[in-house]
């Protein structure tokens, strides 16, 4: 039975040899790491971008509501029946009431820097209608709310001049962003896959060359009775180091992008995206993202080196 201390000594040696080989192969490792950095940066970028898009959608969605303007003649009882009816609809999240006085106060507040307009308002009786605000669960499916309001006994309560506002322009924006998010996610996913495969192939190649360079040493190790893992271990350790360094670099690159290019990104997104949110998201989730990047980097390095050593180191006795 192999003693624990022996196993521990062996483990230490495997790690140390891997680190030494990494330093020796630094130039050879450059290509492997460069493409791995690209892969991990794309993964990170896709993730932050998609979080930002989703946040933008959520923000816009939360602002969408339906304003139902009521005739001045509508009684409190009629209004309660209407609001209760709306509350029963499955897609309705919230129903609120804005009285004529509240509407006037909000209007005045919004136009506080327009004394002429305020003066005119004061001289007439309150021209603004009272309204019921409906907040839908899903702003893209408000047809049932429309149908409800279009019932003749409900139409009779509505202010014919003001009309019902469905925030239609915002819906178009949401659809655009949703579409863009989907496209971006697909492109990101494809790019991640392609670059992950490329980085694995380059790691294969790097390890194949390292094995070729050290073939005499590996033969001697085998003849002296080194176990499979004693021989393979350093290659796996070396590739894991590529993964760790690449993960850290990808985080630094994205961080640098936010530090230097936030304002440029904000401008180029035409105000549609909240780059500030992307930045907050990135820094808020920094440790989770770093852990994720490290995990992906380590997995790519370990898997490709295990396959490469299996492929290029011959462990079987020839028959």
């Amino acid at each position: 039975m192999v003693k624990f201390s022996q196993k521990f000594n062996t483990f230490k040696r495997v790690v140390r040899t891997g680190a030494t080989n990494f330093v020796r192969n630094a130039w050879l490792a450059m290509a492997a790491m460069a493409v791995m950095v690209v892969t991990l940066t794309i993964i990170l970028f896709s993730l932050v971008a998609s979080a930002t898009f989703n946040n933008t959608i959520a923000q816009i969605t939360s602002k969408i509501n339906i304003s139902v303007y009521l005739k001045d003649s509508v009684t409190e009882e009629q209004r309660t029946v209407l609001m209760d009816g709306l509350r029963k609809l499955p897609n309705v999240k919230e129903v609120g009431f804005v009285s004529k006085d509240q509407a006037l106060a909000e209007y005045k507040a919004a136009n506080a820097n327009n004394p002429g307009l305020l003066q005119a308002l004061n001289e007439t009786s309150n021209p603004l209608p009272a309204s019921v605000k409906v907040l839908p669960n899903d702003p893209s499916r408000i047809q049932d709310i429309k149908n409800f309001l279009d019932k003749p006994n409900n139409v009779a309560l509505l202010d014919p001049q003001a009309g019902t506002s469905y925030s239609g322009d915002r819906k178009a924006a949401i659809d655009k962003i949703t579409h863009a998010t989907n496209v971006l996610q697909r492109i990101g996913f494809a790019a991640v896959l392609i670059f992950a495969v490329i980085s694995m192939l380059i790691i294969f190649n790097t390890i194949q060359m390292a094995i070729f360079n050290r073939r005499d040493e590996l033969t001697i190790m085998r003849l002296l009775g080194a176990t499979t893992w004693y021989i393979r271990g350093p290659f796996v350790v070396e590739s894991i180091i590529y993964g760790v360094i690449s993960a850290v670099l990808s985080i630094l690159i994205i961080d640098a992008v936010f530090i230097t290019a936030s304002s440029a990104l904000q401008a180029s997104s035409l105000g549609l995206l909240d780059i500030g949110y992307a930045n907050t998201y990135f820094h808020h989730k920094f440790w989770i993202l770093l852990t994720m990047q490290l995990t992906i980097g380590i997995v790519i390095g370990a898997v490709s080196s295990i396959i490469a050593t299996r492929r290029y180191l011959k462990f079987k006795t020839s028959k």
Binding site: Q6, L223, G225, S318, K319
Partner: protein, 226 residues
Amino acid sequence: MILLDRVTKTYNRKSTALDRISVHVEAKEFVIVVGQSGAGKTTLLRLLTREEKPTSGKIVIGGVDYDKLKDKDIPLLRRKIGVVFQDFKLLPNKNVFENVAFALEIVGMSNREIKHTVPRVLDIVNLKGKEKNMPYELSGGERQRVAIARAIVRQPKILIADEPTGNLDPKHAWDVIRVLEKINRYGTTVLLTTHNQEIVNRLKRRVITISHGKIASDRASANYKV
């Protein structure tokens, strides 16, 4: 210690490297295997170190039946057999101490034990004081003695030396042979292959002659004849 029973090795239908070889070597014996190039000496040794499998026949070394040996147990087997090669197979970028220590690192020995063990073995092969030398700074005979130190540092029961003197001049060849004899006196079974007639004649040990894949003669103390 070493038992071969009707061992045959064929690489393809036309060439038979070894043809029903049966050999029995007792513990602590010193056996010389001679034969012309291509006679099958190296194949025989490669079968013993499990670099190759026999086509048929039975091999038992130190109680280990090779038929029952799994691939994953081969490293453990090789740790019990010391092997020395004609071309030394030292690691060129490691010094003498590190080359010998390498065999101990593989089996997970601690650095403290390694520091204790390696100098003692270098003393046995008469290389005390050369610890820091690189292989290219050594003569052929010294290099081969480093290789022997590496082969015996784990105290194997069997030492296999495949033409260890093949690349050496007579003086250095004898340095190596004397070290092998010394190791044998300490109780290790030694299996030596050689071309060198003088060595065979002067050693006066058991000689197994292989010719065309068969055992041509097996004598307790023989002279060289091919």
